[in-house]
Amino acid sequence: MKKKLFLGIDAGSSRTKAVLTDENKKIAGYAVKKSGVNFSKAANLCLTQALSNAAASVSDIKSAVFTGYGRNNIFIEVPKAVKTEISCHAKGCYAYFPYEITVIDIGGQDNKLIKINKNSKIESFKMNRKCAAGTGAFLEEMALRLDIPVSELNNLAEKSENMVKLGSFCTVFSATEVLENIQKGVKIFDIAKGIFHSVIKRVFEMDSLTKTIVITGGVVAHNPFIIKMATGAAPDKKILTPALPQFTGAFGAALYASNSTA
């Protein structure tokens, strides 16, 4: 029997994500690949895998919405439109949490803070300024300084008993702070936790926050310790994260695709 699917692709600066939803707006398949230097290639690879998950073919896709930095550079022969990642993240998150929320998406190169009202409308949004502080790129730089793979940061931070504080706004200056702490003999666990603390500080100070915060993005997906840090940093807030935090942008795009043909 012919399926009716909707495709959302979020071509992010670091990773490209694809989500297929069915007629009931449920996720039928998804995939993530490194964006590399060819967004279209990464998107097609994601699509192939997502279709395989959904046991479907391209002809089952009724419409698609592309989002993310590479949104205008994806070539897939389906009826399509483009939408910014701000709108798509908002749409995706509101589908999980349909009430007043602040979405914080921590991406590879930038952060987004989006305030959504109880009626699903975007009230305001902000993106990080010119610096990488608080982004995935910051974590990669710090891991480099600690001479460890970035994937190890989460487990190291979990073991910390005495976190160090990194105060700098600047990624380069933060790296210097990390070196200073290494020289002082501070344990790597405590530095790792301090790095996550820095990320949370940077994103929380972007704007005032509503009572409920939804944190998404690849950085959270791979470093769930950030959620613990966020809860500690804002004890008066309710901190939530959706089931697939790296895919909310692509999911939102797929929901837009289904709306456009509704």
């Binding site: 930095y69 939408k83 910014t84 990642e85 701000i86 709108s87 930038d110 409308k121 975007i122 009230e123 305001s124 949004f125 902000k126 993106m127 300024r129 010119k130």
Partner: protein
């Protein structure tokens, strides 16, 4: 951009004539040349027979030619910080490199005209004084000026005397360089022309209150040249009379500058000179028109009074938006957004222009709370494109228009 307007060519010719006249005077020494800050006492200078050159327009040309980043490091190398006004650093940097965008724009012009005297007004910022002092040392000519107030809420009679006195104090050194005595009748005549120019320019800008708007911010920033460099002259006024006629016709024909205009946006802060065309195209593709701006409206001066020339000049030059308090600016922007029927506001936070970045003390949030008008802030700069993230700016603007669309749905 202004290619859509036929009368833009009249304005272009005005600017060409203006620079050729200055160049001729500089080469032949036939007339004295005064450099003046863009909202300095130009009327007084003209009344003394000076040709008036405004380095800010030269800097804007450097910005528009996307070459500022080539020159700024030259100024940095002699001690001017990369964090200060990029008009200053790119202009001084270009001078150090011996390069000027005038060369490409106008045959036979090789460089800006040499000054006989430089006259600043710090109503805009302190940077203009330092900028002019550098040239004063370079050319070994006098640098004089007016130090004025900032953060003024209501301009009261108490603000006027000290500034009026400073303007009067300029006369003696200016007469010494000009070699003539100030002719008060000519001063009054110049002020009348300046008032006329101001009124015409206001009429041009106010045409954008019509739906659809016949012109956008991206037109106005180039069309305003005559109001900046030509106020106090007949020629500038003739240009605007022609432009107004064309705009009225467009209004009559219901012809908007953005086809199928759907969104109307107010722009606060400096233009990003090197991105005028790309932003213009971006907004046009989104069916959004930047209908008005604080920047272009800053050359509307209503308070000249020929019976009180110095006092009224003082009032005009301290009443400028940039010299005012947050309280005043907030009301001004709210009034403008209402008059031009804006759906939202974009604030340009120009890294090297804190004085003309009005989003750093909570004003956007206050205005949004009071009016419900959504806003975004874009981080960039007037000239230094190294401080502009094109992709992030594009995403922010597109997302903002999506937000406006969602609100209208």
């Amino acid at each position: 951009m202004s290619k859509r307007l036929k009368s833009a060519s009249v304005l272009n010719k005005f600017m060409a004539d203006y620079y050729y006249e200055l160049d001729e005077a500089s080469k032949t020494k036939s007339k004295k040349i005064a450099w003046c800050t863009s909202v300095g006492p130009a009327e007084l200078l003209r009344a003394l027979g000076f040709l008036v050159y405004f380095p800010e327009t030269h800097s804007a040309m450097i910005g528009a030619s996307k070459t500022a980043a080539d020159f700024i490091p030259n100024a940095n190398a002699i001690g001017f910080s990369p964090d200060i006004c990029s008009y200053l650093t790119s202009d001084i940097g270009a001078c150090l490199a011996g390069v000027s965008p005038l060369e490409k724009a106008y045959k036979t012009i090789k460089s800006p005209p040499a000054p006989d005297i430089l006259v600043f007004n710090t109503n805009q910022c302190r940077d203009v004084q330092d900028w002019f002092c550098w040239y004063g040392r370079k050319y070994n000519v006098p640098v004089i000026g007016i130090n004025t107030y900032n953060c003024v809420t209501d301009v009261t009679d108490s603000h006027i005397p000290s500034i009026a006195l400073q303007i009067k104090d300029l006369i003696k050194p200016l007469e010494a360089v000009a070699g003539v005595k100030l002719d008060f009748d000519f001063l009054k005549q110049t002020m009348l022309l300046s008032m006329k120019c101001s009124a015409l320019w206001e009429e041009v800008l106010n045409s954008a209150a019509t739906i659809p708007s016949p012109l956008s911010f991206f037109d106005s920033v180039t069309l305003m040249g005559a109001a900046v460099v030509g106020r106090g002259t007949d020629a500038a006024n003739l240009c605007y009379q022609k432009l107004i006629k064309e705009l009225h016709q467009k209004i009559k024909n219901n012809e908007g500058c953005v086809p199928d205009e759907k969104f109307r946006i107010y722009w606060d802060g400096m233009p990003v000179w090197g991105r005028l065309r790309s932003y213009s195209e971006l907004f046009e593709n989104l069916k959004a028109c930047i209908v008005a701006s604080t920047y272009c409206n800053s050359w509307i001066f209503k308070d000249f009074d020929i019976d009180k020339p110095f006092e009224s000049m003082a009032r005009v030059y301290v009443s400028l938006f940039i010299t005012r308090s947050e309280e005043y600016k907030e009301k001004y922007i709210k009034d403008m957004a209402k008059f031009f029927k804006a759906d939202g506001i974009i604030y340009h936070d120009a890294k090297t222009c804190p004085n003309n970045s009005n989003c750093r003390y909570g004003m956007p949030q206050r205005i949004e709370k009071d009016t419900g008008l959504p806003f975004i802030t874009i981080n960039g700069d007037l000239n230094d494109l190294r401080l502009v993230s094109d992709e992030q700016t594009k995403t922010k603007i597109e997302a903002f228009v999506e937000q406006l669309e969602d609100r209208k749905a």
